[in-house]
């Protein structure tokens, strides 16, 4: 069976999951049997949704069949699975948001197809690496011109649409680093001196590395967000390690980052608030729904997960809002779990599907990551290897940062759960990321 045919068949379970998920929600709301209209006819709406979803996916598959016949057959179906999961969960939280997210899904698939068709060969990206790097940094700094949300400068608001440029910047920076490290990887190792058994790269190449470290610190300082800084710098370190195979670079980088983060974090109130909230989320002083830097959100997320238990409460079973009468006129106080469709969608998933469902979701992510690294290993040239590995690492780190934040492994920061959280920028950017991975894998597998 050809790779593309395998891809086509693998899309079917994702569509079935979507249908089953919607059916479960309709069932829990009691309107499967015509519901409010009282028509008493079995509703086929969930199957319709599943059909449309499958249609969009098959259309994208046909483009892949022509443009990238040898690309990895599992990446796209796995992403479709994640997206269907996200759509169902967002629909359960808010039907209007789910409609918008469905539109973003279609636009995202469109962006993936466009990227593939226009680029055809990811090698072209190397030519524009400095432009891309500058563009990436500009995208990161841009939100400084707009008012912050929750203390962090992550979004720019144009009318009613909120864009998160960091989602796109991460791809730009990985592309730049892959290209830069391809050129310098030999020099970094060969020109290095060994001091007390530790490899120190030559000073003139140390500069750009320091520049990346500086950028990460700047991010922390300017954007005031630990999560994206960890993502960028972690991706960078992984790429440096893969390029040089020297653990010492990683250790030096980590020390530099931790030292810098310690200094910066102490000076930015909103970050130290986050760290306090992370350490003692149940402290009554920090647990205040009205307080921006408080621990209310994190603590409620943990309560929601505990409520889910091993098997979860089922779709529709999570309690997200207080009944009116138990909260004041302030709508924010009526929210039991803030940001359920974005930052805390993982907590909602655990609440409704339990440890079992959440572990399944993490497994799907791990499979995507596995395919990504597989692509990197199959690729022949250094740029492709570094690009695929870098994109995969950033993707994995994004999952780790938000899930780790919600599960109190690390301080909470607001990044999206790729393909699952609500958010146009996130869906769009991650589909472009997927497009790049598919491009790399097509060439790698064709040559292999």
């Amino acid at each position: 069976m050809s790779a593309r045919t395998r891809e086509l068949f693998a899309l079917v379970p994702a569509a079935l999951l979507l249908s089953a998920g919607f059916a479960a929600i309709f069932l829990s709301r009691g309107d499967l049997l015509g519901g409010l209209n009282g028509t008493n006819q079995v509703s086929d709406v969930s199957l319709t949704y599943g059909g449309i979803f499958l249609g969009v996916c098959v259309a994208a598959h046909l483009v892949l069949r022509i443009a990238l016949p040898d690309a990895d057959p599992y990446l796209f179906p796995l992403v479709a699975l994640l997206a269907s999961f996200g759509l169902v969960e967002i629909y359960r939280i808010d039907a209007d948001l789910a409609r918008q997210q469905a539109q973003w899904f279609v636009i995202g698939v469109g962006a993936m197809v466009t990227t593939i068709v226009i680029l055809r060969d990811h090698g072209k990206l190397e030519r524009y690496r400095y432009t891309i790097a500058l563009g990436g940094i500009a995208l990161l700094v841009l939100p400084r011109l707009f008012p912050p949300t929750n203390g962090a400068y992550l979004a720019i608001k144009v009318g009613s649409i909120s864009i998160q440029p960091a989602e796109f910047a991460k791809i730009a920076i990985v592309v730049f680093l892959a290209s830069y490290l391809r050129d310098t990887r030999q020099v970094l190792v060969l020109g290095a001196t060994r001091v007390l058994g530790v490899t120190i790269p030559p000073l003139k190449h140390f500069g750009p590395l320091l520049l990346v470290w500086g950028t990460a610190m700047l991010l922390l300082f300017f954007i005031r967000d630990i999560g994206s800084s960890v993502m960028f710098f972690g991706g960078f370190l992984a790429m440096v390690y893969i390029a040089t195979n020297r653990l010492s670079f990683v250790v030096i980088g980590l020390l530099l980052f931790c030292g810098g983060a310690y200094l910066v974090a102490g000076h930015i109130g909103h970050i130290s608030d986050r760290i306090d909230a992370w350490q003692t989320p149940f402290d009554p002083k920090l647990f205040d729904p009205g307080k921006p830097g408080g621990s209310y959100q994190l603590a409620q997320g943990l309560f929601a997960q505990a409520d889910g238990g091993l098997f979860g409460k089922g779709f529709g079973g999570a309690v997200l809002e207080l009944p009116s009468g138990n909260c004041g006129a302030d709508a924010q106080l009526c929210t039991l779990l803030p940001a359920p469709h974005t930052d805390f969608i993982y907590a909602v998933i655990v609440n409704e599907l339990g440890l079992i469902g959440a572990s399944g979701l993490l497994c799907v992510y791990l499979l995507v990551v596995q395919r990504g690294f597989k692509v990197a290993m199959l690729a022949r040239d250094s740029f492709s290897k570094l690009l695929a590995a870098g994109l995969t690492t950033v993707f994995a780190l994004q999952v780790f940062v938000i899930v780790g934040g919600v599960t109190k492994v690390i301080p909470l920061t607001g990044v999206t759960l790729p393909f699952v959280s609500y958010g146009g920028s996130s869906v769009l950017a991650n589909f472009v990321l997927l497009a790049l991975l598919l491009l790399v894998s097509n060439r790698a597998r064709r040559e292999a």
């Binding site: 089922g314 990551v369 109190k408």
Partner: protein, 490 residues
């Protein structure tokens, strides 16, 4: 470059392992603590409770004691159509307050069901049932009403308690405690806090199960049982009943300072002679007394279907409020044998004493719930009669019954006589505060008909002038009459 890529992948896998581990921690390992130990911060359980239609609670005659009603927002709240009648045994359950008590609390899981209506397909797939069952109880409304009215009339201020059991099954027919409260009023937060902090009347305390009073001479039934069943006395053994016999070095008085000669135990019980039973208790000894008291249920919390925290163990309490065993050095066994010496016994225990004698010496486990019925009317669980303990031989039970019949026929309990029905009973009068007045805690325990008992009762009223035989025996009599006339389940 493939080797470092593989290593990065391994690190990624480890990181995802950490995420699964952390999720497991919150969902499984630490979930109990998160769900239950953060009551002020975590109101999920409470909010889910609002969406649950709890099953109804019904009395023996089928009338509804508690039911859930839905408001315009789709939240359920509890209503108690019979007002304050069953406030004490049934209690209340308000998810909005996070408060539950009584039978509502004990049968919470059955009434609420483990999974609510709003829960979905996945919940069903994991095999959990939806919705709550209805609870059928053994409580008889008109007898309950009569008991509360009669006690309130006899002791309007300090109240009292009454318990009626079916001696053959342990079914609780009446559990009255005065003063009572209306569980509908608990819904308002301020009413709840007012009632729960009312230290003088303590209206939320179920006096049938807590706040024991000294049982006075009703305890002589226990002493008589121990004496006969252990073989240390026979029913005809004469014991000197003169006044002011020294018990533990202190002279003990009989009522009205009456002196009796050597009398047999039947007569001694009928006339409630203190000095006889104090001497009997001393001769029987602490060890045997303790054994029989424990068989009757003393020294342990009742095995009733009721929250354990809301019941106290009947027994002897020391000066610091600690439960003393009857074998303790601090216990004056002679005075314990006549129901004094810091005995604190709630009404249920004395009803069980009567019931054990009535049921040929076999004590049944008391229960308020009879069966759980699902919404389609199918019985999902039946609370079957169970033996709590074998207290005495059939022979002893017959002899004690005869002595208790004598109490009602020719002794201190003649006011409990019912034409055409042979009643066995025992009076009790415990002095509240010696010297300051003549207010007493009055008791009467009884069962009837003596030949084939269907009802066993204990009635107590608090701080009233008079004797158990005059004030409380008529209440017990009327309760017995009502319950004997009660038709079996309509």
């Amino acid at each position: 470059m493939n080797q470092p890529i593989a290593r990065v992948f391994i690190v990624t896998m480890l990181m995802f392992g950490v995420l699964v581990g952390a999720t497991s921690w919150w969902t499984v390992v630490d979930a109990q603590s998160l769900n239950h130990e953060h009551a002020t911060q975590n109101n999920r359980t409470l909010l889910r409770g609002l969406k649950i239609r709890r099953g109804a609670i019904r009395a023996a005659d089928g009338s509804v004691i508690a039911r859930s009603v839905k408001n315009s927002e789709g939240n359920y709240s509890r209503r108690y159509p019979q007002g304050d009648l069953f406030g004490h045994p049934i209690g209340y359950s308000y998810a909005s307050l996070g408060q539950q008590s009584g039978v509502e609390a004990f049968y919470d899981q059955d009434l609420a069901g483990s999974v609510s209506d709003t829960e979905s397909l996945l919940g069903e797939l994991t095999g959990r049932q939806q919705g709550g069952d209805n609870l059928q109880t053994t409580l008889v409304p008109n007898a309950q009403r009569q008991a509360e009215q009669l006690i309130a009339a006899a002791s309007p201020v300090n109240g009292g308690a009454a318990v009626a059991l079916d001696p053959k099954t342990g079914a609780v027919k009446v559990m009255a405690s005065v003063p009572g409260y209306d569980p509908n009023a608990i819904r308002q937060k301020n009413v709840f806090s007012r009632l729960s902090t009312d230290a003088r009347n303590k209206p939320l305390v179920n006096r049938a199960l807590q706040f024991g009073y000294a049982p006075g001479s009703t305890m002589k039934v226990v002493t008589l049982t121990a004496a006969l069943d252990s073989g240390k006395f026979s029913i005809n053994t004469p014991v000197d009943g003169k006044n002011n016999v020294k018990i533990s070095g202190v002279p003990l008085r009989n009522d009205f300072d009456e002196s009796f000669g050597a009398i047999d135990l039947t007569t001694a019980l009928a006339k409630s002679v203190n000095t006889v039973f104090a001497q009997v208790a001393e001769k029987v000894g602490k060890k045997t007394m303790r054994e029989y008291m424990e068989r009757f249920g003393f020294d342990k919390k009742p095995q009733l279907d009721y929250p354990r925290g809301a019941m106290s163990a009947p027994g002897v309490y020391g000066s610091r409020g600690q439960l003393l065993r009857p074998t303790s050095d601090k216990v004056d066994i002679g005075r314990l044998g006549i129901g004094q010496d810091q005995l604190q016994v709630p009404a249920l225990q004395m009803a069980q004493v009567a019931a054990a004698v009535a049921n040929k010496g076999v004590l049944m486990k008391p229960h308020i719930g009879e069966r759980l019925v699902d919404r389609d009317g199918r019985t999902t669980r039946r609370i079957d009669p169970e033996v709590q303990s074998k207290v005495m031989s059939e022979k002893t039970a017959a002899e004690v019954t005869q002595a208790m019949v004598a109490v009602v026929q020719r002794g201190t309990g003649t006011q409990a006589q019912i034409p055409g029905v042979q009643v066995a009973g025992k009076t009790g009068t415990a002095e509240t505060a010696t010297g300051t007045g003549t207010k007493n805690k009055l008791w009467f325990i009884a069962f009837a008909p003596a030949s084939d008992p269907r009802v066993a009762v204990a009635v107590t009223v608090n701080d009233v002038v008079g004797f158990g035989g005059d004030v409380v025996a008529p209440i017990a009599k009327q309760l017995i009459q009502t319950l004997l006339n009660e038709k079996k389940n309509p």
